[in-house]
Amino acid sequence: MKNKTALFFLAGALFALIVGVLFGLLASLQYIIPEFLKEYIPFNKMRPFHVTTVVSWIILCATGSIYFFITRIEMLKLFSAKLAKFHFIIFLLTGLGIYISFLTGKMEGREYLAYSPILAIPILIGWIFFGINYFKTIIKNVSNWPVYYWMWGTGIVFMIYHLCEAHLWVFPYFKDYIVRDISVQWKSYGSFVGSWNMLVYGIAIYIMSKIKSDSALARGKTVFFFYFLGLTNLMFGWAHHTYLIPIEPWIRYVAYGISMTEWVVLIHIIYCWKKSLNKEEKQSYCMAYKFLITADFWIFLNLILAILFSIPAINFFTHGTHITVAHSMGTTIGINSTILLASVFFIVSKINPDFNINQFLIKKGHFLFKVSLFFFWCSLLLAGIKKSYWMYFSENILFSEMQNSLYYVYVGIFVFGFGLAVSIVMLSTPLIKTVFQYIFANKNYS
């Protein structure tokens, strides 16, 4: 096949990753230099740029990886290469439309989905194209589906559902009732993340089974038990976001009961896999392996944090503080992005077996990534603890005074964020270069 769509998705993803962290840096700079370009790029405009772009990184990389694995590794004939191309073109054009609307100040959406809701329609069409292509390709050609096929399939279906749900606010029935509106909005966001986790964790399990050359790893009863547990969590475990909203208590009870088992899913699988992996297998996909181990470490840290604040009495103190940000950064960077970088390294090793993983940029970049992220995360936790103390244990201290007292913590967040951005540029540059070389080389690879 001459179809290079998978690599276009990956190139777009890596580009979005670099640009997204740079937007994040610019936005965080306003915590320490509030007047910095405030009239031109105020925080309320920079944040949507940052969030949209880094979410694009996750979505594009997961999509590109799945297309690549299906067509190049599994050697399945895609139901429609044209549909995949349309999928990419729709996402590309919609992305451009979103940036143009942001630049012209037309942001009519909400947190995380700040673009005008009309732009959700082409995004939905892109996901539907992906779903048709995926299921039409897999259903007839694969028997006894390994768990990652289930995870990708459910991830796609629930992305479509929750993208629709996240826009229910356009209807007065939801929009006009504040508590219902906030509940449904945050229900959709929680499950939206659960849906892309299905795609990303499926990729992690796929790479593990390929590195180990053991397809049984993804077909056992245990792995399916955890998959269904994760799916249950995706469907019902969202409400820890809304413990403190005056919704009906039974919704919060359900969330408390189910909450956060999702992390147990992946940690168990990675733990079992790591234990049984021999040295030779580790060597052959060195960088992919190293990034999966980094993800493993972050799962441990986030597991502890998530379990703690899924207890309502602890959530009471952490909600509305940077502790929540620490958790989301630990998840999106520490877990999702490291798994996706592992995926790109795995793919690059397939398209260019001579790719030098020991080059300076990658070795030092990986080290800087781990160190910066850890201290970035700790700084966010510290900011959260101080804010929580201000909210519940201090009196007559103004918000601005509390923010001023956090100045050096915010400096820390910026400095470690800068380290993180540098490491991401170091890691992504050789990957982008290789991907582009193969896009523009006249080779039939996928």
Binding site: R47, P48, M107, W145, L244, F316
Partner: protein, 141 residues
Amino acid sequence: MPKKANILIISVLITLFSVYNIFIYTSQDCKQPIKLSIKASKGQQLWQNNNCWSCHQVYGLGGYLGPDLTNVYSSPNKGESYIKAFLNSGVKTMPKFNFSEEEKDAIVLYLKHIDSTGYFPNYDANLHKTGWVELKYKNEK
């Protein structure tokens, strides 16, 4: 083809999920359902169009550069004139907006509606030894 047992489990989960969603979508807001007026709805749209959520929070959800505004309307020494003063003058981190009087009224009304739905932080909540938090609701007897 996928295994039939897996399809059965997924079907059961999706059925439960559908029922659960119907309950969520139709549930009455606890204690006091508050409907936005047309003017407050305009305030909500202004809140969205200007990305106020980027910096501010409602019920602890939103950005952290600015303060939570759930109860800014009823807080001592704050309220309508306090909110209006901030809107067009800006502060160190907040850009100056250029809202008309009518728009400022709409935003204030939206914040008033939010305020009437509950408390955040919920200082009068009861923390149980089981880890459960019993919230204090507005207008609760």
